[in-house]
């Protein structure tokens, strides 16, 4: 029983991180119909920056967010304006996949070149600490990572719901033409949407670096589950992605008890195929998916 409860807690903590990252992927797809393969490569890049920051300065990796979040936001805007928007609209979905894929390769290659292929891990004085809660041990670092993800997700939600920019962004996602008609500069909004999405990668990367080893090719490990999450959640729906992330994260964690780590990972792909077979537009929202 305690194992079950422990796994449940670990699953929730993992699901939180998945949710934040999937929200970023959903944003790109929403504003541009772009499947952003390089999302997880940027995640690992952020993790490396956090690691590098801590090794060089000896300060807490969380402080690196002050640099990485604005940096990634600007990078995202520039990427959308300079690269993605150059693609022909007719083949945008396919070609953007290839373009972001090639960006992922470049990031992976550069990371390997600069930091070598060695696995890295941030050494934290509190890495082995844990809090006991109803018989389950919760690692402090995992709790921080979850907190970071939850706060960012909450902030993202508030931005989208409460601000004018958020309304413009949602309008752009729902109906770009109509948004343009009422005077929204959809190009600029799409750029900001991209920047926002990439900022989630910066936060996620730092959270990841707290309690995990990183190496350049790790992003392949993340992109599969994340893509499965956004399809199950319904391409383009942020709440859908968050719910799917939580459910699948929990499912993965619980399935590890009977199946072991390797086979438990297949839950993402089983869910992906099941979704496409049964309900291709995704289970939560996802009006957009039908058209793509």
């Amino acid at each position: 029983m305690s194992l079950f409860f422990q796994s449940l807690v670990l699953g929730v903590l993992l699901g939180g991180l998945y949710a934040l990252l999937a929200a970023g992927l959903t944003l790109y797809f929403g504003v541009m119909r772009v499947v952003m393969i390089a999302h997880s490569a940027f995640l690992i890049l952020a993790a490396y920056l956090a690691w590098f920051f801590t090794t060089e300065t000896g300060l807490d990796p969380l402080l690196s967010l002050v640099v990485t979040v604005p940096l990634f936001f600007v990078t995202g805007v520039l990427m959308q304006r300079l690269l993605i928007s150059r693609l022909r609209p007719a083949t945008l979905t396919m070609m953007s996949v290839l373009l972001t894929f090639s960006i992922a390769l470049v990031i992976e290659g550069m990371l390997g070149f600069v930091f070598s292929g060695t696995q890295r891990r941030i050494r934290l004085p509190y890495s082995g600490e844990s809090i006991e809660l109803f018989g389950a041990n919760i690692a402090v670092v995992k709790l921080i990572a979850f907190g970071l993800a939850a706060v960012s997700l909450g902030a993202l939600f508030l931005i989208l719901k409460m601000t004018q920019f958020g309304q413009a962004l949602r309008a752009t996602i729902q109906h770009p033409d109509a948004a343009r008609l009422i005077g929204i500069n959809t190009d600029r909004i799409a750029g900001y949407g991209f920047g926002l999405g990439l900022a989630t990668a910066a936060i996620g990367g730092t959270a990841l670096a707290l309690d995990s080893t990183i190496y350049p090719s790790l992003h392949w490990h993340w992109i599969g589950p994340l893509m499965a999450i956004i399809v199950v959640g319904g391409l383009g729906s942020i709440p859908g992605a968050a719910i799917a992330a939580m459910l699948l994260g929990l499912g993965q964690s619980l399935l590890q008890i009977p199946l072991g780590t390797t086979w438990a990972q297949t839950i993402f792909y089983v869910a992906l195929f099941a979704t496409l077979m049964v309900r291709p537009q995704g289970f939560f929202g996802g009006r957009l998916a039908q058209r793509f």
Partner: protein, 408 residues
């Protein structure tokens, strides 16, 4: 238009076929000068990619060995010269590298690459051209069951036998003091799994119950759930079939769950000098098998350690020692047979000689069975008072074995 494009394509293809053949054969092949000039030795190593760290260690070992030989009169009176290619940790590349070394560079001898994954395809190429293949890494059982009659592993023991001394020590305990339950977690890698399952087989024979048996993919980074299972089982012994980083992660995760085993053994990682730093002060009592220690008093070892330390500034580790051992093994065969050239007859003589003879190396005297398995065992090390010391076998021990591991 269609016409010209096709035509052009044809010419282009022909031209590129010609440049391909022309350009790539520019490598110097020294045919017809056998017996003179340096002895060239071809090696492919993973200098980039997943295995780049150990790959570079092996490279340092090989280069130190070659310089040492050249400083001491060479091999058969000839200098040795290494040609090292990078296979990017990729099995396709490693085969094409040996193909290139043998055919285009015309090397006289080949040495093996790193890791089981790369040894098997490389050994196949060497076998097809009749070359002797001595390799410094590739300890897993699978290497030896493929029917390679040209292969020799230049280390004391295959992966499954790494924990033999520890198993012997546990067996020697009175029944009541032996551990009752054991948890195993191994990376899905022929070598890492081999070490853990070798010990598992022995412990199960003694009646130690297996309560957790987990295999995780090589690139696992989240050990939370594996640790949760092990902690939940409250096993007396935890055995990790690990490389480096996964062991660190697993130990951190186990500590997060406040699991306290009576005995903890991990392969590879604890012998890494960075390990105590990564884990903090909680290393006391952690066990690990090792194939090499600079302190060992085998005949040639002191010289090796001295030469290497002077060259590189640090004493050699296991990868470097295994590379050096490979050099020693091939050199012994070459000196005994008196030839070093790519001719299959010469290579066959080298193979036959190694089959029947014992070679003194820095990891001890080595002999091989018919499939190329070395017939020795690994030493067992343990962190005692913050230092990693040899604790088993007793005649080589630098410190006493701690049976009840302190809390971490």
């Amino acid at each position: 238009m269609k016409v010209t494009t096709h035509h052009r394509l044809g010419v282009l293809a022909l031209a590129s076929a010609l440049t391909l053949t022309g350009c790539m054969s520019s490598g110097s092949s020294d045919e017809g000068e056998e017996g003179e000039g340096p002895i060239t030795i071809g090696i492919s190593l993973p200098l980039t990619g997943d295995f780049s760290e150990p790959g570079k260690g092996v490279q340092r070992g090989y280069e130190a060995w070659a310089d040492y030989v050249n400083d001491n009169g060479g091999l058969l009176g000839r200098d040795v010269e290494l040609t090292i290619l990078d296979d990017q940790s990729n099995a396709d590349r490693v085969a094409s590298d040996y193909e290139k070394l043998i055919n285009q560079d015309g090397v006289d001898l080949v040495f093996g690459p790193f890791s089981t994954r790369l040894v098997v395809p490389a050994a196949q190429v060497a076998k097809d051209y009749g070359f002797l293949f001595v390799e410094p890494a590739g300890a897993a059982e699978e290497v030896f069951t493929q029917g390679f009659d040209n292969l020799f592993y230049a280390a004391p023991a295959v992966a499954d036998d790494h924990y033999n001394y520890l198993a012997d020590a546990i067996e020697a305990l009175p029944e009541a003091e032996r551990p009752k339950t054991a948890a195993y977690a191994a990376m899905d890698d022929p070598f890492a799994m081999g070490t853990a399952y070798g010990l598992k087989t022995r412990l199960e024979e003694m009646g130690v119950e297996t309560v957790v048996d987990e295999v995780y993919p090589p690139n696992t980074t989240d050990f939370g759930s594996i640790a949760a299972k092990i902690a939940d089982s409250k096993a007396d012994v935890v055995v990790g079939g690990t490389q480096y980083q996964d062991a660190v992660n697993m130990i951190v995760s186990l500590r997060q769950l406040d699991y306290q085993p009576k005995m903890a053994a991990f392969s590879t990682a604890p012998t890494n000098p960075e390990f105590p730093e990564a884990i903090g002060d909680e290393t006391e009592g952690i066990l690990s098998p090792t194939g090499y220690t600079p302190e060992a008093d085998y005949p040639t070892n002191a010289e090796f350690v001295e030469y290497y330390t002077e060259r590189e500034g640090t004493p050699p580790a296991e990868d470097e020692a295994n590379a050096w051992t490979t050099g020693q093994v091939v050199a012994a065969a070459v000196e005994a047979v008196g030839c070093a050239d790519p001719d299959p007859e010469c290579q066959q003589q080298l193979i036959d000689w190694l089959r029947d003879n014992e070679v003194d190396t820095v990891v001890g005297p080595l002999t091989w069975d018919a499939e190329g398995r070395p017939e020795g065992a690994h030493l067992i090390q343990q962190y005692v008072d913050g230092e990693i010391r040899i604790v088993l076998p007793e005649d080589a021990a630098e410190a006493d074995l701690i049976l009840e591991k302190p809390e971490w």
